[in-house]
């Protein structure tokens, strides 16, 4: 190192004109240094100042939204069977509660409405719903004993307006959903109701006195009658059968009721002979 250091040379160098940076340059550099010292370094982490709460709030909001969305999706996840027909059932329940009146359907059938205003209103409200029919049948089961004929005629009034949705009379546009609703209750209920409907139809077609006996299971009949109302042809067949069995009084009563419900129904000659007994 001795070769790289010469004291005499160093003295000569120190003797050169002492030059220093101008004060303005010093001030500029020191001011920049102070400004930099006041500024924090690059924010590699969340700032610890007054805005710290903002990040926590944002995170909490996102978390709450995610939880709410998850819960909502869990609740809304439909049952595969129920998902196919949620709206009709909901509508039927509301109809039963009187929340929704089936005014459009009623308006589409003014004739029937005018013929049996009170009865058809009740029937329209209750007929499409098997569950409602079951409830009604349970209520009526207490009375279903010796008064079977009267009871039967009462029940028979229920489906009266409904047959207007059958092919015998031009179906109203609103009648289609009603039929569909009737044919599409919950799967288990649907099978049960259909089976009961068939059995009840057979019983009703057989004999009137057997109807009283069938009151032992009144809910079946009450369910069936409104749920699967007989159409005019079937009704006439039943009247003819009553007539053929010699139950003319009952047949006359049924026929009068039929004509009240279907005043414009044109009977064929053959059927007229059978139901009128001539």
């Amino acid at each position: 190192m001795a070769e790289e250091h010469d004291p005499k040379l160093s003295r000569h160098y120190r003797s050169l004109e002492p030059i220093e940076p101008p004060p303005a340059l010093d001030q500029a550099i020191l001011a920049a240094a102070r400004r930099a010292a006041d500024r924090p370094h690059a924010p590699l982490v969340a700032p610890a100042g007054r805005h710290r709460w903002y990040y926590g709030l944002a995170a909490a909001a996102v978390l709450m939204f995610a939880v709410a969305l998850t819960l909502h999706m869990e609740r809304e996840r439909p049952d595969p069977e129920a998902a196919a027909e949620p709206a009709p059932q909901l509508r039927l329940e509301r109809e039963l509660r009187g929340v929704i009146k089936r005014a459009p359907e009623a308006e589409s059938q003014p004739a029937a409405k005018s013929q049996a205003p009170a009865a058809s209103a009740d029937a329209e409200r209750f007929a499409p719903d098997p569950q409602a029919g079951a409830r009604e049948a349970n209520r009526l089961a207490d009375h279903a004993t010796a008064t079977a004929p009267q009871e039967r005629s009462r029940v028979a009034q229920a489906p009266k307006p409904v047959p207007q949705a059958t092919p015998a009379s031009p179906p109203a546009p609103q009648a289609a959903p009603t039929d569909e609703m009737r044919s599409r209750p919950a799967p288990a209920q649907r099978a049960k109701v259909e089976a009961e409907a068939k059995a009840a139809a057979r019983r009703e077609a057989n004999a009137g006195q057997e109807y009283a006996a069938s009151a032992a299971a009144p809910s079946m009949n009450r369910v069936v009658t409104p749920a699967a109302p007989e159409n005019p042809e079937r009704w006439l067949e039943r009247i003819a059968e009553l007539r053929s069995r010699g139950k003319h009084a009952e047949a006359d009563k049924e026929l009068a009721e039929f004509r009240r419900v279907y005043p414009n129904y044109r009977l064929s000659e053959v059927m007229r002979e059978r139901v009128e007994g001539r």
Partner: protein, 177 residues
């Protein structure tokens, strides 16, 4: 006892502006002379001087006392000088156009003692840049051979050779007078 440079720089990194003022006061004149005598232009020298200190300020967050602060400071200065030379091409090798004080001595206006300094200053300017840089780092920065090598990104043999050649030429210039 004065705080070492490294401690002051760490304090400034942590936000102590006063530590930087102390550090600046210690090194401002030496660094200024080093830069100014390297580029031979006052305007360019002042610009480079300011840029070097700004670089120190910007790099404070990454500063770690792995070496002497002086070595780190003059390494930054060397890098700026290299960039300056690259921008200017080889113009800095030339001795033309210098306006450094004392660079244009007028022998007629100076006494004999001043003539000796003038010759020394002229010889210093006449040195090749790398040799002059090694000499200035040694004289102004007080850097050792190893520190000069580190600051100029070369090996110690090359740094030693540059410094040795610079001293020999300056001695020759002085003895000629």
């Amino acid at each position: 006892m004065e705080a070492p440079d490294e401690q002051l720089m760490l304090a400034y990194r942590d936000g102590n502006a006063a530590a930087f003022e102390t550090l600046y006061a210690r090194h401002r004149a030496r660094l200024y002379r080093f830069v100014l005598r390297s580029v031979k232009s006052r305007a360019v020298g002042e610009e480079l001087f300011q840029e070097i200190w700004m670089r120190v300020i910007e790099a404070r967050a990454r500063y770690t006392p792995q070496a002497r602060f002086t070595t780190w400071l003059y390494t930054i200065a060397h890098n700026h000088l290299v960039d300056h030379w690259r921008k200017r091409g080889l113009s800095l090798v030339s001795l033309e156009g210098d306006d450094t004080p004392g660079a244009s001595p007028d022998p007629a206006d100076h006494a004999a003692a001043r003539e000796s300094l003038a010759r020394f200053a002229a010889a210093l300017e006449a040195l090749p840049p790398l040799q002059r840089e090694a000499f200035l780092l040694h004289e102004e920065g007080g850097l050792s051979i190893g520190e000069i090598a580190a600051a100029t990104k070369t090996n110690e043999e090359a740094a030693k050779s540059r410094l040795r050649y610079a001293i020999a030429k300056l001695k020759a210039a002085m003895s000629d007078g």
